[in-house]
Symmetry: C2
């Protein structure tokens, strides 16, 4: 019988790497002095370590200057790989609560975020295994003392281990609450006895084989209702019938200069206060997103902003959950990230063109709301602007592009194809407004049939967003 458990683990891992359709996340947390490191080392040595990554990091300055979950998103294993997290997102909540750095409400909120995060990962083909290592207080104390007395191992005992020993009862209670709140078929907990006779790697190996090769449970991410804003979500039908009268050029230039000066001042103050800004531009083809973004960036210091044009994902991006490529582009505090098309592609082009399954794009509404809530929780200013043109105006612009040499590059076959699905897009756009216009980020629907008015409206909207933040009590 060559088919030992160890061979099963290795061969499951290699097969997972070959298929590269799922990945495995293993979280190891629990009490101090339970042999977490020894267990991870042992598991790691039974796997192909070229396909495994272990993460036990104190957050870096780059991580602290971005929304909380960024540090975990950036470390998610690519398809085919295994990521091991020591304490991970559980340790942050657990120890912060035990040390009274957060209250019970914030603790429960963190657990709810975890539930949603793990459901999102599972729905994207990440199999989760979570271990809690147990030990009773008395044995823990004896073990810590024994370690401390042994010169070759005393280094293993840190101050926080003793602190956690003193808080054994508190951690036990919090740990139970934590596990109960985050238990799920797609992210099951397993409690193991830890300590000197340390945790049985074999049991874990079996779990890992299942995660690598077993069926992936179907996941229903937690429902998340959009918390509505005072005003109803916009609808394309609300747009007024376009007037034929273009705005007077001199009038436009004067107002543009004033709006840009106002933006420059606001942006400087936003930067001084270290507030990150995320601006999302969506709109039909030829609605003038590029022109609006250009008028916006003209007023910004080039060192402070970055424009992200979202097209087809790279192969590294395709090897991760769909939202990964937006997480990786989030700005540092005090910087501005401008998205020329965005995560909303999931519920627009990917929906209409069938690039995402109905299950996937429907789920995306909740994922997007959560993502945006996390940006706001970090203190970001979030602006979402939809530039709308009507079908006739789009046609005029397509023709103008076709005829103007230095604009021809902007017009592609795809633009004409998309135009044929105008009604499908309209439905998707209105559904997007309905599902994602809330306290966690309201949409500004900009009438873009007149370019000059649209540019001024965009500047005005962004200015008002920044000013609302600057005026808000800190």
């Amino acid at each position: 019988m060559k088919e030992s458990l160890r061979y099963r683990l290795l061969s499951a891992q290699l097969e997972m790497a070959r298929q590269a359709s799922r990945s495995v996340v293993l979280v190891v947390t629990g009490h101090a002095a339970t042999g977490k490191t020894a267990l991870i080392n042992e598991l790691n040595h039974r796997m192909e370590n070229r396909l495994t990554e272990v993460h036990a990091l104190a957050p870096s300055s780059e991580e602290r200057a971005r929304p909380y979950w960024w540090r975990y998103w950036r470390r998610l294993p690519a398809r085919g790989r295994v990521g091991v997290f020591v304490h991970g997102w559980y340790g942050d909540a657990l120890f912060a609560r035990a040390e009274q750095r957060i209250g019970p409400g914030a603790f429960r909120d963190h657990l709810a975020e975890i539930r949603a995060f793990e459901a999102e990962l599972a729905a994207e083909g990440i199999a989760l295994v979570k271990l809690w290592l147990d030990i009773d207080a008395e044995e823990q104390g004896r073990h810590l003392q024994a370690l401390q007395r042994d010169p070759s191992r005393a280094w293993q005992v840190k101050d926080h281990d003793w602190q956690r020993h003193l808080q054994h009862g508190v951690l036990e209670t919090l740990g139970r609450e934590m596990r109960e709140a985050t238990e799920a078929e797609h992210a099951p907990w397993r409690r193991l006895a830890g300590g000197p006779r340390h945790a049985p790697a074999k049991t874990v190996e079996r779990r890992l084989v299942t995660a690598m090769a077993g069926p992936l449970p179907s996941v229903t991410p937690p429902e998340e209702a959009v918390t509505p804003l005072a005003e109803a979500p916009p609808r394309l039908a609300d747009l007024p019938v376009p007037t034929d009268k273009a705005m007077d050029k001199d009038d436009y230039l004067e107002r543009l200069a004033r709006a840009q000066a106002r933006l420059a001042g606001n942006a400087r103050e936003i930067q001084r206060r270290g507030i990150p800004v995320v601006l999302v531009f969506e709109g039909q083809d030829a609605a003038g997103k590029g022109g609006c973004i250009h008028r916006l960036t003209s007023a910004l210091d080039a060192r402070l902003y970055r424009v992200h044009r979202i097209g087809a994902p790279s192969d590294e991006e395709r090897a991760h959950p769909w939202a990964w490529r937006f997480w990786r582009r989030l700005p540092l505090d005090g910087r501005v990230a401008i998205f020329d098309r965005s995560w909303y592609g999931r519920v627009l082009v990917e929906r209409v063109e069938g690039l995402a399954s109905p299950e996937a794009w429907r789920r995306a509404y909740g994922e997007i709301r959560r993502f945006e809530r996390q940006l706001l929780a970090h203190g970001a200013v979030l602006g979402k602007l939809f530039l709308a043109v009507d079908k006739d105006e789009q046609l005029r612009r397509f023709r103008a592009r076709a005829e103007t040499p230095h604009k021809r590059h902007k017009l592609t076959e795809e633009d004409w194809r998309n135009r044929e699905r105008w009604e499908d897009y309209r439905e998707a756009i209105d559904a997007m407004f309905a599902h994602t216009h809330g306290v966690d980020g309201g949409w500004a629907l900009i009438d873009a049939n007149d370019k000059r008015r649209a540019r001024l409206a965009v500047l005005d909207h962004v200015n008002r967003l920044l000013e609302a933040r600057l005026d808000a009590p800190r």
Copy 2:
């Protein structure tokens, strides 16, 4: 005449993006109060900002915990894109020297590093444009005072601007030395008058158009002789004729346990002192790299090391200079990165299979020496191990793999193909030794015909490397 300069710049940029075969790096440095930011903003607004990135960063903790050049490598624009660096690698040297944080020798060394760095980028299809903004001391003083008096612009004046004003003469001299030392056809300097009547963006635009669309000058990177070690570089022919007698198993296990315990202690101390470790494993197919790495990592804390198996590059990696994918994998201080195959692929498989041009792989010797010198300059321990088997032993192992179910995955068609080119590889391997065995990293040629002896030899070599560092005076 629609063919204005501005349209030429934009269209050159779009064409460069379409072809995605080169990228442009623009460095802007010089005196304070010369309008660098205004110039960059103006240029940025005349380009497609979705294809441009501006970098003006203070190094983050992640950057400080890695070799100096990491911060620039990670920010290099992908093919088709423009990267703008404010001061960039010039500012670091210039201001450190002006403020006496480094001496004249270190300044000159930094300039030599810059020369080599820029030559390497240019050889990889990056067109460089470098601007020095000039102003005379008197005008600078007047301009700073005027700025300071204007409430809406006073924020632009920083303390260091006044400091640099006081050092105008010093910076003028150092700037001249810097430009002279780093002037090259592939990385030309241009001096521009800065200040209130700020720099003529037009002149720069012309330079940029040339960089985007003009012929790329051919580059001969500076010669860099390997500084030899006391002992001569190894040669494959030096290996002794393998004995038939395998090492006794009990003896092996006992010595293995001792070596691993020794490694565990060394690694702990290395980590405590925050020393990064980079280990490179090369060797013929089936030489047993994986097994040796496994015996090594068994003694390491899984939280501290990462094994990088180097295969085909991802598309993001292909869009950057070839060494980029190794830079991005460099460990943080106190961590161990183990490369299962490495940058030496450039002068082994890429040479033998014709994946790199003769010009490219010949140039790589110098690039590799510089890369490794930069690791060492940062304080890394660098170990380079070549595991060698002879042709008969390789055949035995291929056959054993073919016959053993859980090893079959290790044997591919490619292995048999490589075997046919045994002599070509031998030549490439010996050339690699000759060119890259020096004070900046010596090779250990490990006789891998007996797996047990090889594993012990690897552990012993790594232990000795770590101990040499730990014993060295700090």
